[in-house]
Symmetry: C2
């Protein structure tokens, strides 16, 4: 099974293909890039050998002037220094406006490569070829690119939609267990905020899905990518409250990550706790009944994701990071809440007493 | 005399005001920025005292949370390191999406500040308040922002239109002579490529204009800003050949600057020589008659601008920089030529023999 669809937004567009092999990407690129164009595949140490080299060979075979640019693995690569090194390499290799980048990797490689593509010569075209579940269902789609600075993650960036997003779920065959959990947190989020049917499917098949890659993942990844494309098309720069729905669980999740120096909790664990907090608040505000709240909690638990922090975080420190949220306006943080499984509402200001109770329930 | 008009492009818009005092900017900002918003005025050492502090006082008086961020004077400030320092400062000061930057200065401050505004939190709003003739007639308009890397100028950047461009020609009262010449080269360019009437006005009044600031400059700066806004509106990302007309004289000009390490010729001197070369080619190709070519040369000379390099540049080195032009496509450099004063045509491929003769005529 494979699917093709298009994300059409006011600030750009991306063609999206889900379910075709990575080896078919070089041919697909011919619809976009000039024959013989320079193409740099940016990848990290973890996958540049296994997946990067074959892709570069394929691109060379298809007539492109292709090279592999390897960056170190891990979040530390997502900074201005690494971006600076990539710019210099591209300039030395005489990359011009008709040249291309391909981001082959997870969120770090995708965000960094996207940012370099957005800003080299004021913007060149690029392809997202995501190789983690999180990147396939979330970070490769939507045009958000960026790097970190010591004061916070993703504080520097640009909107720049990839011309093509090439999602091959079979590339997940060797994905480590922890990455599956992190991606699954976002998959559950899509069901919770947007698609009750997807949520039901996950409830039925979570145990099997969590065993790792199988063809059963293809329709699930396809549906998540479609939801993201749909939401982003309607609100590309997050100004209408719609794209904000995708941040369900993320305000508290980002604060947990920030307050613990990004070292204790994976992104999936942090937003799982954030979804527990937001679920609690959704019930408190009478938007969602207890049954749906329990369904959300049960599914997250089935996926191996936590409801509570493992050790308490000093409340003042957490609140400081909550207030620093990139979407804060005049210092006020607003929450995305659920009106039941499959329906969400953004921009909810929260009474401090309710917030206190919800955070306490997750050990915060 | 003052004028207000709008640059409306597919990738953004700028309101432009020419001829109102810098002291009126804080009030004007109230149409755009939220009351009490954080505003950082970015300026360089040369003018932050004389013009930066009064502007910050005015903004504070108008109710904004205003600060002055000073960067060192000169092109060296336009790099990723300086951008990184500004990002960190903004993050520490809790600048959010509704916060503003004001670029108060020449092209370096404008390009750097615009790039930071384009990329901090994936883009915040900013104002261009240009204080050099070059910035008032050219670099503050059109949404091009960027920084330099060791491999070349402006190789990293983004399109990001300022919400407001506030052009006070009286801010030029203390502008050094060399800056007048550089700005005048661009002013003459507008006449040559777009507006025969402007060109005639310059022919009549160049001697007086070059004495420095006088109210006679206001209609000239207004006209240049209008032309730039007009051209950019129709071709914001330089893909239709129209915005490329603004590069008349710039391919050779940039190559001269690059080949001499940006140390021997001012930007105005380099593009003046570039316009001589392009004028020569325009006549060689039968597009422009000898009279118009002489008029172009005479006006540039009147403005104190050179026709020839002061010492020869090794031809291979010049050609290498010509080929590196940001607008090169598949390695081929194309020229903007004149079809007579006031009319230009872009995308002209040049026969090597003709190019050789034209470069030789300017001592290259």
């Amino acid at each position: 099974m494979s699917a093709r669809f298009t994300l059409k937004a006011s600030n750009g567009r991306s063609d999206i293909a889900v379910g075709e092999a990575m080896t078919a990407l070089p041919d697909a690129l011919s619809k976009y890039a000039r024959p013989g164009a320079k193409v740099a595949v940016v990848s990290d140490a973890a996958i540049s050998g296994r997946q990067g080299k074959p892709l570069v060979s394929g691109l060379t075979g298809a007539g492109y002037d292709a090279t592999l640019l390897e960056v170190p693995s891990g979040e530390k690569s997502k900074d201005l220094k690494q971006a600076g090194q990539l710019y210099r390499r591209l300039a030395k290799d005489k990359f011009e406006r008709g040249s291309w980048l391909v981001a082959l990797g997870g969120g770090v490689v995708g965000d960094l490569t996207g940012f370099v593509a957005a800003t080299y010569l004021r913007g060149i075209s690029y392809v997202q070829a995501p190789t983690t579940l999180l990147a396939q269902v979330d970070s490769s789609l939507g045009g958000k690119t960026g790097v970190d600075i010591p004061e916070g993650k993703n504080l520097v960036g640009a909107f720049h939609h990839p011309a093509l997003i090439w999602i091959d779920p079979a590339a997940l065959k060797t994905l480590p267990k922890a990455h599956w959990r992190t991606g699954m947190a976002e998959v559950i989020k899509y069901g919770a905020i947007w698609d009750a049917k997807l949520f039901e499917t996950l409830e039925k098949s979570a145990d099997d899905l969590m065993k790792g890659y199988s063809p059963a993942w293809v329709p699930i990844i396809t549906r998540c990518a479609q939801i993201k494309a749909d939401v982003v098309s309607k609100d590309p720069t997050e100004t209408k409250g719609l794209r904000a729905l995708l941040n369900f669980g993320h305000s508290v999740g980002h604060a947990i990550e920030g307050a613990t120096g990004y070292e204790i909790y994976s992104h999936g664990e942090a937003i799982s706790i954030g979804m527990f907090v937001a679920g609690f608040l959704s019930q408190q505000y009478g938007l969602m009944d207890g049954i749906d709240r329990i369904r959300l909690g049960t599914l997250l638990t089935k996926a191996g994701l936590p409801a509570r922090v493992r050790r308490p975080i000093r409340r003042e420190r957490l609140m400081e990071f909550l207030a620093r949220d990139k979407k804060a306006e005049a210092g006020v943080v607003r929450f995305v809440l659920l009106k039941g499984i499959g329906k969400a509402v953004s921009g909810q200001a929260i009474d401090p007493e309710y917030l206190d109770a919800a955070l306490s329930a997750s050990g915060l």
